[in-house]
């Protein structure tokens, strides 16, 4: 198999990239290609032109300070040994080492696969997404960025330039898949602050609880201010099971996913 013919445009600056993407309706950005190339090969997607942004230095940065600033071209594998434990946990659950060599953070967010690991993780982190377009860079809250399955706030000619978030003091990522690191049947990402045995605040995001990654807001409300003990964990898992409205597909039924979301919440909280 190989992709249908396309024009290949290698760009050398971000402004050149957004310029081409805004002028050509049939163009798509190519970063690592780990989701895009299979879609092209399967002829699920087809573009007149691919704009290769993979060599843009402007999108290749990773800074750890008060907040974490990650460029769109940060490869998954670069986070496998991150000083931020939560990022490490997520990174090692993505695909396999080969996919992680090339797949990018920005690509994962822009593709917005409902089973994608980074969109859920970024929801838990409350990340700010930096979106580049012909008029410059705008910032979009992750809660507004994911609009549906494979749908984002990106408009034509725009691409993800990077993201910014705080590394959570406590975090956990629990994922269930049919085989090791396959697309998640269900997964739960928790980013929390815990003081003196109590959850100060927690953001809880799930894969497999809706047609897209979503925050489990009832679970978050239940956790805020609660003591981090077995009763709270059990109540949160129960609440997650009720809040989840999972889809059924060939990987698993809604009922099964609902149960998995509950178990994932329980295990994630137990690891905080």
């Amino acid at each position: 198999m190989f992709p249908p013919s396309f024009e290949y445009i290698r760009v050398f600056s971000l402004s050149e990239a957004v310029d081409v993407l805004s002028r050509r309706e049939d163009a798509a950005p190519l970063a690592g290609g780990q989701s895009l190339i299979p879609l092209l090969k399967l002829r699920v997607a087809s573009y007149g032109a691919l704009v290769d942004i993979g060599r843009l230095r402007e999108l290749r940065y990773l800074e750890y300070g008060e907040s974490v600033k990650a460029g769109a071209l940060t490869r998954h594998h670069e986070l496998e040994d991150s000083p931020c434990g939560f990022l490490r946990e997520v990174a090692v659950r993505i695909g396999d080492p080969q996919i992680r060599s090339l797949g990018t953070l920005g690509g994962s967010l822009a593709h917005a696969d409902p089973a994608g690991d980074w969109p859920a993780a970024m929801l838990a982190l409350g990340a700010t997404v930096r979106v580049a377009g012909v008029n410059g860079v705008r910032e979009v809250d992750i809660d507004d960025f994911i609009r549906g399955p494979y749908q984002t706030a990106l408009e034509r000619g725009e691409l993800v330039a990077g993201m910014e978030f705080r590394c959570p003091p406590r975090g956990a990522y629990v994922k269930f898949a049919r085989r090791h690191n396959d697309f998640a049947l269900a997964a739960v990402a928790v980013a929390a602050e815990v003081k003196e045995g109590h959850v100060v605040r927690a953001r809880v995001a799930a894969i497999g609880a809706a047609d897209r990654p979503v925050r489990l807001r009832k679970v978050e409300a239940l956790l805020a201010g609660a003591p981090l003990n077995a009763d709270t964990v059990a109540a949160a898992a129960e609440a997650a099971t009720k809040e989840a409205q999972p889809p059924s597909d060939f990987r698993g039924s809604a009922e099964y996913r609902r149960a998995l979301v509950g178990v994932a919440v329980k295990r994630a909280l137990a690891r905080l």
């Binding site: 198999m1 190989f2 992709p3 249908p4 013919s5 396309f6 024009e7 290949y8 290698r10 190519l30 290609g33 780990q34 190339i37 299979p38 092209l40 090969k41 399967l42 691919l50 290769d52 993979g54 594998h77 090692v92 695909g95 396999d96 080492p97 080969q98 996919i99 060599s101 090339l102 090791h180 690191n181």
Partner: protein, 147 residues
């Protein structure tokens, strides 16, 4: 488009159509050890090292690899020889189809100083073996990594 690839130390400059995949270009250059397996980025038989990292060459466009240093399983150095010997001793190949992918990922693991069996198992998870089972392969990598 003109693409430069350094494969196992040999420089090649080739004209490729942008939609051509790295695996096909490598095979046409004569590197037939790079297998087309599932062709859907699942099985890992087509794994090569690209600038030091394992990639599935059926899931990379040749134009993306322009300027890259590629190692296929024909590459030889002391570490690779050690891994090959360990694969032989441990009977880590049966039909052999996954072997080139296994050797390349094993090479990456040993080079980066893999420290535990758990890391080996995770590290090999992108290559599927359908006949020997994985245990002998894991044993071989452990031996090569001196674990």
């Amino acid at each position: 488009m003109r693409v430069a690839l350094r494969v196992n130390g040999n420089l090649h400059e080739v004209d490729v159509e942008p939609r051509r995949l790295l695996v096909h270009v490598l095979r046409e250059l004569g590197y037939k050890s790079v297998r087309v397996g599932c062709d859907t980025a699942t099985c890992g038989a087509c794994t090569v090292l690209m600038d030091g990292r394992p990639v599935k060459s059926c899931n990379v466009l040749a134009v993306q690899a322009d300027g890259a240093e590629i190692y296929t399983v024909d590459y030889s150095d002391e570490v690779m020889e050690r891994i090959r010997e360990a694969f032989k001793r441990r009977h880590a190949a049966q039909c052999g189809y996954c072997t080139s992918g296994m050797l390349m990922t094993a090479y990456h693991l040993v080079k980066r100083g893999v420290k535990s069996e758990e890391e080996i198992v995770e590290g090999l998870s992108g290559v599927l073996c359908r006949c020997t089972g994985y245990q002998n392969i894991i044993e071989a990598v452990k031996e090569a990594a001196e674990l």
